[in-house]
Structure formats: structure tokens, C-alpha cells
Subunit: 144 residues, 2 copies
DNA sequence: TATAGTTGTAACATTAATTATTACAACTAT
DNA sequence: ATAGTTGTAATAATTAATGTTACAACTATA
């Protein structure tokens, strides 16, 4: 199974806020129209991003704003904020291996450190990419 | 969402075959008992591993065997064989961004290379770990 | 060559996760 | 006050993953 589309939607939201903040009021309806999903989906994402300190939202008046400079928000920050994987674990372990079997009993121990290395490699690469990189490239595609 | 448990189940299967091949006939029922899933799930996994050239199976008589030396099978080989992610893409993109919106129209272009870098980092780490590593550690836990 | 045991696979059932939707109270600026 | 908006609960719909049953095809061996 793939990593939830919430991750790419969240990045999309940031790109929209940055692009349109001077010309439009950034409401959940406005963002929903660009991402093409229900506004409630956007509000839930924004609420997670707000908890992580990545955006500011003022209730009532309408208007989401990015809380930090673009080059201080990494893709890992966003990934963590929107909780794409259960419990922070990228790999789903089969639940009840047979504890009577020596392999079943020890497979978890034998694998955990290796799966964790793999996950770390991925997260490490995510940390190297910031919103500044993404939005710079998006703008250059938009100009074309 | 997490990466399918098929991945860890497949590794479990290899560890079982290697551990018990001299003392037991390795049938799907035998493996199902250790992993604690339905034998058909095991057969489906074995069939994918066979297509990838990682195991040999003889129909009728019962008996799965590992097709290559353990240090020539990487976790990436197994991951690819059991098709944990749709279409080889780790990240799920939201389907229909609004093409009327400049951001919606270009977000895919702006993100693709970055997502692909992240995925590559993960796959690269998977490639560094072989079944020999896993099974060595499993055996050492079993001895304790 | 019959038999017992096994694999391969289709068809279907079940469960779980994700995403979408409706509804409405709480809030804010004007 | 009012119009517009966010926050969130409740629920529905959809999709994906996993589990199960059933049986034909196959193989080794008696």
C-alpha cells in the first residue's frame, strides 16, 4: 500500500497559500477547489499542520498563512504532521506469528533494526528537501 | 498507510525455509503454521517469489526451496517481488487536482523528482541488506 | 496406475482503512 | 446583528487488504 495522499495534498496546500496569499483570501473552500477535494478534508489537514506549528489559521475570518520561512519547513515536517503511517512505523508487521515456532518467535527481533534503518534512510532524504525547493520548481513550471 | 505485511511475511518465509529445510518438508501448510495465516496467503506469496526467481517450488510433492545463496537476495528483491506498492510508486498522489489552477496543474511536475529521490533512498537502503544478514541475526536470537 | 498429498488459482467473504459528506456549533471581522 | 468561516463529530461511501472455500492440475510413490 502507498503512503497516504494526505502528504502530497498538504504540500499542494502550502504551494497554494504561498502563490495566492496576496491576491485571494485563503479559505478551506478556496484550497479545496485547487486540490479538488471536499473542504472538510482540507480543514482536517490544516488543523494537523497547525498543531505541528507549520501554519497559522484564524477562525471565522478565513485565512491560512504559512508560519515559518519556506526553507525551514522540510518534507519530513509535513510528513510527520499529517500522520501518513500508523504509529510512525512505515512497515506493517504480520500480527501474530506462531510463538511456538522458533522463527515465529524471533522474526520481529531479527527484523526491527533493519526495517528501522530503511525507514530512517527515507526520512533522512525527506528532511533534505524543503518547501522552498518545491515551490521554486512549481513556480518555474507555472511560468512555462 | 503502511507498507503491506506481505513484505515481512515473505522474509519470514525465507527464514523458515532456511531453518527447517533439512528436517521438514516445506509445504504451504507448514509455513502457514509458523506465520499464522491461511495457507493460500502463503501460496500466493510463494508464487510471486517464484516468478521473481527467488524460490523454486515443485508442484504436487510439496517443497519450497530458496533459489539463490542468501547473500545474493536483498530485501529490495523481496520487496519488488511481492508488490507492496501500487505500480512501484511509494507515494499516493491525489487524483484530480484542478487543472484550471496553476498550482493544481503543475504540482505533479514540481514534486515528482523529489518523491522519486525519497523513494530511491529507501530502496537503496533495502538493497544493502540481504537475507544472509536477517537470517544470521534470527539464528542468534533463536540460540538465546 | 490408483492414491494421497500438494500446488495454483478463481471466486468470494470479511475486515479494515481511507476518503468523502453532511451538519452544526463556535468564532471573527465588519 | 450578520455573513462568512473554522472546528469537529457523526456517518456514509469507497477502496484496498486480507482471509477463506473449493477444486482442478500435478507429482511422487506404493
Amino acid at each position: 500500500m502507498q503512503i497516504s495522499s494526505r502528504f502530497t495534498m498538504a504540500i499542494h496546500i502550502f504551494a497554494c497559500i504561498d502563490t495566492f496569499q496576496n491576491d485571494y483570501k485563503i479559505t478551506s473552500d478556496f484550497l479545496a477547489d485547487s486540490v479538488n477535494v471536499n473542504p472538510v478534508v482540507i480543514r482536517r489537514l490544516l488543523s494537523q499542520l497547525k498543531s505541528a506549528g507549520l501554519v497559522n489559521i484564524t477562525r471565522g475570518s478565513g485565512g491560512a498563512a504559512i508560519a515559518k520561512p519556506l526553507d525551514e519547513i522540510t518534507l519530513l515536517d509535513i510528513y510527520n504532521a499529517v500522520e501518513c503511517v500508523d504509529n510512525g512505523e512505515l512497515f506493517h508487521f504480520h500480527e501474530n506469528p506462531n510463538m511456538q515456532c522458533p522463527v515465529g518467535k524471533n522474526i520481529h527481533n531479527a527484523l526491527d533494526d533493519k526495517l528501522s534503518r530503511i525507514q530512517k534512510a527515507m526520512e533522512n532524504e525527506m528532511q533534505k528537501i524543503t518547501l522552498a525547493d518545491v515551490i521554486r520548481d512549481a513556480q518555474s513550471f507555472i511560468k512555462k
